[in-house]
């Protein structure tokens, strides 16, 4: 069974349609224009008070916020994609504002080259060092028989004492260049022997030092002999 509104809508649709003649609308328009031109109407319009917004906007806004649709809007706003500024943007702006020097333009490239060269050098050095090899370290125990040196050395020089005492008698000979040269030779050997004796004292158990000592004493012996032979001759 159909409801009354449905029946009413159907009946309205079935009502006969009245077509208004065109001149009717023209007449109405003319009448309205005449009313507007009437001074009384104009005066009445001018006396109308301007319509101001009521003081109820906060309340309306509050009511709007309460609205479910506002919440949806707020959520949608919160989910809007955020735009992040890139650092390059500011740098490019800065560079456009400030004219750049050659150093500013190329320091990165220069730094890269320096780091690359340093890196290559360090790698090269590392490779060089890495080839060093400590192969072994070991302790070996053994025993052997050695000759221990026992030396006693006279420290008085009899030859010099002899020459000193005799040069009083043989002044001319002792002043001769060849004798003075021999004496210098002898004293050089004696000085060298003193150095050697000191070294032997500090570095005991060094057989080659004793070998030198024996040799130098033989040399000094020969020179001393030459001096005495010269004084005799």
């Amino acid at each position: 069974m159909k409801s009354q509104p449905d029946i009413l809508r159907r009946l309205i649709r079935e009502l006969p349609e009245y077509n208004v003649p065109e001149e009717v609308w023209v007449n109405i328009s003319e009448i309205l224009d005449k009313d507007y031109e009437n001074d009384n109407l104009k005066r009445s319009i001018s006396q109308l008070k301007p319509l101001t917004a009521p003081d109820q906007w906060p309340g309306i806004e509050k009511e709007l916020r309460k609205d479910e649709s506002d919440k949806v809007l707020a959520k949608a706003v919160a989910e809007l994609p955020q735009y992040l500024f890139k650092k390059d943007l500011f740098e490019s702006i800065h560079q456009k504002i400030k004219p750049r020097t050659a150093f500013a333009r190329y320091w990165k490239i220069a730094a890269m080259i320096i780091f690359t060269v340093m890196g290559a050098y360090l790698v090269w050095e590392f490779q060089k060092q890495s080839i060093e090899v400590i192969q072994t370290e070991e302790l070996l125990y053994s025993s052997e028989t050695v000759l221990e040196l026992l030396a006693t050395l006279p420290d008085e020089d009899e030859v010099l004492r002899f020459i000193e005492s005799n040069c009083i008698e043989f002044v001319v000979k002792c002043d001769a260049p060849i004798f003075q040269g021999l004496l210098s030779h002898y004293q050089d050997l004696r000085q060298a022997e003193m150095v050697l004796l000191k070294e032997i004292h500090q570095n005991q158990h060094t057989p080659q030092l004793v070998k030198y000592l024996v040799r130098i004493r033989k040399q000094r012996n020969e020179v001393g002999k030459s001096m005495i032979d010269y004084l005799q001759g």
């Binding site: 060089k128 060092q129 080839i131 060093e132 090899v133 400590i134 192969q135 072994t136 370290e137 070991e138 302790l139 070996l140 125990y141 053994s142 025993s143 052997e144 028989t145 050695v146 000759l147 221990e148 040196l149 026992l150 030396a151 006693t152 050395l153 006279p154 009899e158 030859v159 002899f162 260049p177 060849i178 040269g181 021999l182 210098s184 030779h185 050089d188 050997l189 060298a192 050697l196 070294e199 570095n203 005991q204 158990h205 060094t206 080659q208 030092l209 004793v210 030198y212 000592l213 024996v214 040799r215 130098i216 004493r217 040399q219 000094r220 012996n221 001393g224 002999k225 005495i228 005799q232």
Partner: protein
């Protein structure tokens, strides 16, 4: 004057040191350290050692091989082992320089060594590598070496075999023996007798209180010797010809009879002898209080 002779004999006998030896068994501890470096052109090796027996051999290999033995000898193993730590040995490479150094240091709280400490260092280096070696109280031997070689030795013997290039050598107390010396050699010897065999190239030698023997020289280009209180003897074959300038002050100048006789200046007591073609290699020897002897075989 016969009384003088007795006095001389008595004095000379009294000058000899009384030296004797006694046998003893000792314990030996040897610490061995090996290290190898790769060689790059321009690398230098510097050795600063004491009481070290150093042997350096030139090689065709492009590497430096160092074998070091730190040795301690004492009556007991404990003493030998304890005093082995008195060796202070370092080997390191800084840029293009390899430094090798050893010292024997007595700790402050110890009065004296109870052991005999010494070092043996054997090194193989490329033939052309620059070598600087300083060694005191030890022997130094260098074989098959070219390039720059500097040797500074004190109280030690030096042996050079087939050493060429640029050699600078200083020695104070020791023996020098060379075989096959070549290139440019500058030798400064004090109290160091020298035997130089088969030498060639250029040699400049100064010697004081050490006799010099030049034996069987090879292709000598020039030989200059200044000696003081030392004898200089040169032995070579007849086929070799030189240009000579020999000068002996307060000494003898002995030359073969076929070369004539050197005249002596009686006032200055100087002997000068010159001989030979100008285009021959020059032998220039000046001796002060020493003899010059030419022995042509």
């Amino acid at each position: 004057m016969t009384g003088y002779r007795y006095i001389v004999v008595f004095f000379l006998l009294s000058m000899f040191p009384c030296i004797s030896y006694a046998q003893e068994t000792v314990q030996v501890i040897t610490g061995t350290y090996n290290r190898t470096f790769r060689y790059s052109t321009g690398d230098i090796i510097k050795i600063n050692a004491e009481k070290a027996r150093i042997t350096i051999t030139g090689s065709e290999k492009e590497e430096i091989i160092v074998t070091t033995k730190l040795i301690s000898k004492a009556r007991t193993v404990e003493i030998a082992k304890s005093e082995l730590s008195y060796h202070q040995y370092t080997i390191e490479k800084n840029k293009d320089v390899i430094d090798i150094e050893n010292r024997i240091v007595l700790p402050k709280h110890v009065k004296e060594f109870q052991s005999v400490l010494f070092v043996e260092i054997q090194i193989s280096i490329p033939t052309e590598m620059e070598l600087q070696v300083s060694n005191n109280y030890g022997n130094t031997k260098i074989e098959n070496k070219n390039g720059k070689t500097h040797v500074n030795s004190g109280f030690g013997d030096i042996f050079l075999v087939n050493v060429g290039g640029e050699l600078k050598l200083k020695s104070y107390y020791g023996d020098l023996k060379t075989d096959g010396l070549a290139g440019h050699s500058v030798l400064d010897l004090v109290l160091t007798p020298a035997e130089i065999s088969g030498a060639s190239g250029f040699i400049n030698l100064k010697s004081s209180l050490g006799d010099i023997v030049i034996d069987n020289p090879g292709r000598l280009r020039a030989l200059n010797i200044e000696s003081s209180k030392s004898d200089v003897t040169m032995v070579y074959g007849r086929e070799q010809e030189f240009r000579y300038f020999l000068q002996a002050d307060f000494g003898e100048l002995v030359i073969p009879q076929s070369f004539g006789v050197a005249p002596r200046d009686e006032i200055t007591n100087r002997l000068i002898w010159t001989y030979g073609d100008p285009d021959k290699p020059e032998i220039n020897i000046k001796a002060n209080f020493g003899n010059i002897i030419l022995n042509v075989e």
